[in-house]
């Protein structure tokens, strides 16, 4: 196993899938000559040329729609959003075109497209550049939403997303790009829709995804020292949600904390909490608690920003509460 950054794992997935299938192309702002705003597409222009690695104007709505159109006639576009914040100007094409084409056409048309880019907050980027929209996309039938937390998952899931016959919103993280991890040398894919137990535990379940996985694991370490044995489940895919994995763990631990990066109201955690109280009601020894971003636009000041964000301390505190250890 080689140790790769999350960025390079994504780069490998892109390269391998573009080598594998001539219908796959990458389109977005600065993806070609600039090698990507976050260098995820480094080297791809040189290898695949300007028809398959395409710099666009700043026109997300337009090139998202061009991607959907290309997908409708059999190509497999990968549309890079420089950050998912900018997908808001393109969201009509994602929700009203990509997600509905198969249904509206009575099953005649598939839209095998990936919309990918970093989501959520980085450091001090301010209110308009620090937003997590996974709950929005996961609300929409016809879309799949994938959010890997590790280099290995990033590579395996991006390859699956590119091969998928439906539109996939693939959300990365600027704060994840430099994360290192072991990545298998041989070819592999990770199926969409399958959560991963990142730590086995018996007394409480911590459900997390993307940037909250690392703090969840840190919290679990801290809690272990206090005699609390936490299981950490990384959703990896938000839609379709791996309900079985969640319910199986809660049936075992009888306690649950959900940690997500975004805002609370109707967030991913709300859906997971609803699922658990509905399907595992009799297993619960305490209410499901959620850890999430402060319910405010992201402030620029670094101390305020830190206070707004989810971290291991906040996750550990919530776990103590569901274990009645506080």
């Amino acid at each position: 196993m080689a140790t790769l950054t999350y960025r390079d794992a994504l780069n490998q997935a892109l390269r391998e899938e573009m080598q594998r299938d001539a219908n796959v192309f990458l389109m977005g702002e600065e993806v070609a000559e600039y090698n990507g705003a976050y260098k995820v597409s480094r080297g791809l222009l040189d290898e695949f040329g300007p028809m398959r690695v395409v710099d666009t104007p700043i026109a997300e709505l337009g090139f998202a729609g061009i991607g959907v159109g290309a997908a409708m006639v059999g190509l497999r576009p990968i549309i890079e959003m420089m950050t998912m914040n900018f997908s808001l100007v393109a969201i009509d094409q994602i929700v009203n075109a990509a997600a509905k084409m198969r249904y509206m056409s009575g099953g005649q048309l598939a839209v095998p497209i990936v919309f990918r880019g970093p989501g959520g907050a980085a450091l001090q980027l301010g209110a308009q550049h620090s937003q997590a929209f996974e709950s929005w996309y996961a609300h929409i039938p016809g879309l799949k939403v994938v959010m890997p937390a590790t280099p290995a998952d990033a590579k395996g899931l991006l390859k699956s997303a590119i091969r998928d016959d439906d539109p996939v919103v693939f959300i990365e993280g600027e704060m994840l790009y430099n994360m290192k991890g072991e990545v298998p040398d041989e070819e592999y894919v990770i199926p969409i829709g399958v959560a991963d137990v990142k730590r086995v535990g018996s007394q409480v379940t911590i459900i997390c995804h993307s940037k909250t996985v690392a703090p969840a694991l840190n919290a679990a370490k801290t809690l272990e020292a206090e005699g609390i044995d936490a299981e950490v489940i990384d959703l990896r895919t938000i839609r379709p949600l791996d309900e079985q994995a969640i319910l199986a763990s809660v049936a075992k631990t009888n306690r649950c904390v959900i940690a997500e990066e975004g805002w609370p109201f109707a967030g991913v955690g709300a859906q997971v909490a609803d699922l658990i109280q509905r399907e595992a009601f009799d297993h619960l020894d305490s209410p499901v608690l959620r850890v999430h971003q402060a319910d405010v636009p992201m402030p620029y000041n670094k101390h305020l920003e830190k206070a707004a964000k989810v971290d291991a301390t906040k996750i550990a505190a919530a776990v103590r509460r569901v274990c009645y250890r506080d």
């Binding site: 192309f25 028809m51 666009t56 104007p57 026109a59 709505l61 337009g62 090139f63 998202a64 729609g65 061009i66 991607g67 959907v68 159109g69 290309a70 997908a71 409708m72 006639v73 059999g74 190509l75 009509d92 094409q93 009203n96 075109a97 084409m101 198969r102 249904y103 509206m104 056409s105 009575g106 099953g107 005649q108 048309l109 598939a110 039938p141 016809g142 799949k144 998928d164 016959d165 439906d166």
Partner: protein
């Protein structure tokens, strides 16, 4: 220059246009089929057999016929919600379209799409879209795919005059011009977006001028004259196939009926006189007159044609009426690919 709402447009090319005499019979038949089909659809709507929004094509027939007759079967077509005419022109059967309007399982979108979402992938007829301007990037996308694959296919994209003021138009046309995509952008300029005249919605009334901002020719075309429409389209198709890039066509036409079935035939936003003035140059009459002149049409032939088409439309309605609704299980299919993959 004047917009079509002020007075019937004078053709920019009608006179100079080549006469496509060999195609006139097919064109007349198709335009008349559209007219009668839409009249029947209007009736069926009033009877509650068709639901939702239903936007009729009556008056604009020469646009669909003149443009689509210039295309090859492997070219791509996409339109808005006022697309019954283009679907017929593309050779989709009146049965499959009427059944879709009725929401039946035999409809071209299996009853799931409806009037605004007609699809026939086998004919590269790629919808039927309901968000104003939303189909313009899609049309550019089909053109992108043709260029990507190195074919000489063309993508034609229809939208209304009002759609020329929305962001998707700007972004798609800029990229099409920048990348010289084989696309034809057709403004079906019927003078109004719902109740809003072009001059109340666009800072300039000659929308063709916007082509210059995207490095593509913008041509004004007389949409009452099917020969003129075809001639202009031939040139746009030639450019696209030759790799010379996209064309913006501003085809001046007129809808005789309301915006949709829920809108009055002519509301307060236009006068009956204006509607009548356009009916004076009815696109079907214009072609019929030429054919009579050329000895290609007489009263008997006309009567026969009307009878033939009446039967065809009646058959389509009967087919739609007798067709089954989709199975209840259809509610949950076609959301995602079947798990085995398609």
């Amino acid at each position: 220059m004047a917009v079509s709402t002020d007075k019937p447009p004078r053709s920019k090319r009608g006179s100079g246009a080549p006469a496509y005499t060999s195609e006139w019979n097919d064109w007349l038949r198709m335009m008349l089929l559209m007219r009668r089909f839409e009249e029947k659809a209007g009736e069926a709507y009033s009877l509650g057999q068709i639901g939702g929004f239903c936007h009729l094509y009556i008056g604009q027939e020469a646009v669909a016929v003149g443009t689509i007759s210039a295309l090859r079967d492997d070219d791509y077509i996409v339109s808005a919600y006022r697309e019954h005419g283009q679907a017929l022109a593309r050779g989709m059967t009146p049965r499959s379209i009427m059944a879709e309007l009725f929401g039946k399982a035999t409809g071209c979108s299996r009853g799931k799409g409806g009037s605004m979402h007609l699809f026939d992938a086998s004919k590269n007829f790629l919808g039927g879209h309901g968000i104003v301007g939303g189909q313009i990037p899609l049309g550019a996308g089909f053109a992108w795919a043709a260029k990507y694959r190195g074919t000489d296919q063309v993508s034609i994209c229809y939208f209304g005059d009002a759609a020329a003021n929305i962001g998707a138009f700007h972004e798609a046309l800029n990229m099409a011009g920048l990348w010289k995509l084989p696309a034809i952008f057709v403004i079906e300029n019927n003078g109004y977006g719902m109740g809003t005249a072009v001059k109340r919605a666009a800072a300039i009334t000659d929308l063709a001028e916007r082509g210059a901002g995207y490095g593509m020719p913008g041509v004004v075309v007389d949409g009452q004259d099917v020969d003129a429409v075809r001639a202009a389209t031939d040139e746009a198709v030639r450019r696209a196939r030759a790799g010379e890039g996209p064309t913006l066509m501003d085809i001046r036409c007129y809808r005789y009926v309301g915006h949709s079935m829920s809108d009055a035939p002519h509301g307060t936003y236009r006068t009956k006189d204006e509607v009548d003035a356009f009916r004076q140059r009815d696109p079907i009459e214009v072609l019929a007159a030429r054919m009579r002149e050329a000895g290609m049409l007489d009263d008997d032939r006309w009567a026969a044609l009307e009878a033939e088409i009446a039967a065809e439309v009646a058959d389509a309605v009967q087919f739609a009426e007798e067709s089954p609704d989709p199975d209840p299980s259809e509610l949950y299919t076609d959301v995602l690919a079947p798990v085995e993959g398609r």
